[in-house]
Amino acid sequence: MDFLNAIILISNFIIVPAITYGSQLALGAIGVTLIYGVLRFANFAYGDLMAFGTMIVILFTWYLQSKGITFGLLPTALLALPIGILFTIAISLFFDKTIFEYYREKKSNPVTFIVVSLGIMFVLNAVVRIIIGPNDINFMDGHKFIMKAREFKQLTGLNEGLAIKSTQVITLITTIITCSLLFYFLNKTKTGKSMRAYSDNEDLALLSGIDPKKIILLTWVIVSILATVAGTLYGLDKSFKPFTYFNNLLPIFAATIVGGIGNPLGAFYGGFLIAFSEIALTYAYKKFFKYLLPESLEPSTLIQFISTDYKFAISFAILVVVLIFRPNGIFKGKVI
């Protein structure tokens, strides 16, 4: 019984939150990695692109709600998601046409691209804050919990409860669908293969007749979809605040590099690795050991590797460690 309690405790406080957070990071990291693989620069505006997509979703959610349309048990935001994606694609392509294309044709160095993406970051930051304001917005509606801790306790008779929020399940399912579609596209379809070829070796791909314009357009479309989905899922699960989205860029970058920049599968694993280490290393295991160890061995301290204040710092530290040991990431980077 104690063993089961310990397992449930860990699932409730580590596994379920880490899977959710990891999915959100993974979606974001795949987007950053795709941009890096195809367009060959680190896009610092990505966090704000996520915020922009989520903002559009929120605005349409409000619109739908004002018309009395809801999605039953599911959050209305899922109905507004396609519109958010469309707007994000539009703004991505707009920035590509007006700004990035110029530097691409000039074959500028990666640092110029980074600087330009900083400019776009400032602009998007302002646009989001001007339109929707800098405050916390909770746009989750519909059914909140699939399983409440109390219900679980009554159901199983255990001491520990397992709470599962519906947003956590939605996040997981959406991530599975999005990622399987994406990896099917990249590995099985002709266009996806040409995209990988382009990322692998630009000159060879051009020689074999791949149209770079089409590849780049497609990349922006996929990246915008990923950014909006990741942003909306994060917003549903926690809440929407422009500043948090900007900050999330940092663990996303960490996940991207840890997984090997330019490698989508690596980014996927990287997201989960970062999420699990952030949550597992800051969790206090006192109660966990209380269940498992005999009374005489019970710990007196919290058994916490590092305090929760350093949650973000952990992902950065992992990144630094990876950079020292395997500068190309855990999985070999630079190949889609």
Partner: protein, 455 residues
């Protein structure tokens, strides 16, 4: 023709600040000037790294926070009780950290051929964190419990705050040494991301180690290298000076009580201005001497070597230059200057608020200054700092004017108009972003491009 651009652009900048002094108030103009000068020091630091050596450092925020921490460590009086309660424990922990770092460097040097060297280092780091917690934990809780509301930290050395600027520079250089050892071998974009993330680690340490910096509880009432307004207002010579300077204004009023009233008002406003002027002179001195030295450095053989390394690393290597060593040195030098500026900023504010360090304001804005002003050109970096800070402050009234212009047809209580007016503070980001994009497109080398120096 050579210095023509520089003279004209700086005259325009001076004129703009004077105009602010005339139309808004002298105090506003002086505080803009002071922050422009501080920003100029920051942007010169970044310029040394990026413009001279081509190192992309997105960790500006971290070094500024270290400089800010230095002001606390140097100028605040020590909390004796805290020292006696937990000082020993903290010293032991400090010695432990130094021992671990030395051990890692030793392993790195001596066992460089050992296959599992990296794993050994990793293991040491992982083991040392819980050990460190075990050693320092009791002392930290003791220190933080002493007068938690007013102190709850170790305090500093009670020295004049000017020393902290140099101490901040030293501390930053030390941290830059460690970061540089780890990261400088990386490619440009990796370096950008990793320095950004490391600065995040630094800020979260400064924010959460309350025994060191009071963390989110802030440290207020720091010392000043300039006189205090209150002291000025109560000193005789100052009142007489203000009276003398405003004789014509005062002599027009005949009622004695009214005259006294005006005089005390004048004393209050001019005391603020005098304090800011004192700061401005100190900052101006710093900027000028820094400019002098970096111009000298740029023209010296060392500066030529740095540019050679920046423009063609392989060729410089082939000529026998130690690129790795020079990169590390210039990374430390630039970070030291940024740390110096961080200490100046906290000194000017008079308070240390770790939670205010955010990458947008303290890293990317400084970068915009350098890129806008002109990379590789010291005058450009200074000009960039002035222009960007001026826009940053003055964008609010400007945005208000634009909004009123475009919505003049709308009713005063129109929802859209009110919403726009409420979001005026964010128009500065928009202007920064658009400014950066425009400059990168049409003047990619900045407002004052780097001059090719021919000896």
């Amino acid at each position: 023709m050579k210095n023509f651009d520089i003279k004209i652009s700086f005259s325009i900048m001076a004129l703009l600040i004077i105009l602010v002094g005339i139309f808004q108030s002298g105090g506003v103009a002086l505080s803009i000037l002071n922050l422009c000068l501080i920003s100029a020091v920051m942007s010169m630091g970044v310029n040394i790294q990026w413009g001279f050596a081509g190192l992309i450092n997105f960790g500006v925020m971290g070094f500024l926070a270290i400089g800010g921490l230095a002001t606390v460590l140097v100028s605040v009086p020590p909390v004796i009780e805290a020292w006696s309660a937990g000082g020993m424990g903290m010293l032991v922990s400090g010695a432990f950290i130094i021992a671990v770092v030395l051990l890692i460097f030793f392993i790195n040097k001596k066992l460089s051929d050992y296959k599992y060297k990296n794993y050994l280092i990793f293991l040491i780091i992982i083991l040392s964190i819980p050990l460190l917690k075990l050693i320092s934990g009791p002392s930290i809780s003791k220190i933080e419990s002493i007068n938690a509301a007013t102190s709850g930290f170790l305090g500093g050395m009670n020295l004049p705050i000017i020393f902290s600027w140099f101490f901040g520079a030293l501390l930053s250089a030390g941290v830059a040494f460690v970061i540089g050892k780890v990261c400088l071998g990386l490619r440009s974009d990796y370096l950008a991301i990793s320095t950004l993330l490391i600065s995040g680690i630094i800020v979260s340490i400064v924010k959460h180690e309350e025994w060191l910096s009071r963390g989110v509880k802030n440290v207020i009432g720091l010392k000043r290298p300039a006189p205090y307004e209150v002291n000025l207002q109560s000193s005789d010579w100052f009142i007489r000076l203000v009276e003398f300077l405003n004789t014509s204004k005062l002599s027009k009023i005949f009622d004695i009580a009214e005259r006294q009233d005006l005089l005390s008002k004048l004393v209050i406003t001019s005391s603020g201005i005098v304090v800011k002027l004192c700061f401005a002179f100190i900052f101006l001195f710093v900027v000028c001497s820094l400019l002098y030295f970096s111009e000298k450095a740029l023209r010296s053989p060392w500066g030529r070597m740095m540019r050679a390394i920046r423009d063609n690393e392989d060729a410089a290597k082939a000529m026998g230059k130690n690129v790795v060593k020079q990169h590390l040195f210039i990374f430390m030098l630039g970070s030291a200057i940024i740390g110096f500026a961080g200490a100046m900023l906290v000194t000017y504010d008079g308070l240390f608020t770790p939670s205010s360090y955010q990458p947008l304001r303290y890293t990317f804005l400084i970068w915009v200054m350098v890129l806008l002003g002109g990379t590789g050109n010291n005058y450009g970096a200074i000009l960039g700092a002035f222009v960007v800070w001026f826009i940053w402050i003055q964008s609010a009234p400007f945005a208000l004017y634009i909004i009123n212009l475009f919505t003049s047809q709308l009713d005063e209580s129109n929802a859209i108009k009110l919403h726009l007016i409420n979001s005026i503070p964010y128009f500065r980001y928009l202007m920064m972003g658009l400014g950066l994009l425009v400059v990168m497109r049409y003047r990619p080398k900045g407002l004052l491009p780097e001059k090719v120096i021919r000896n």
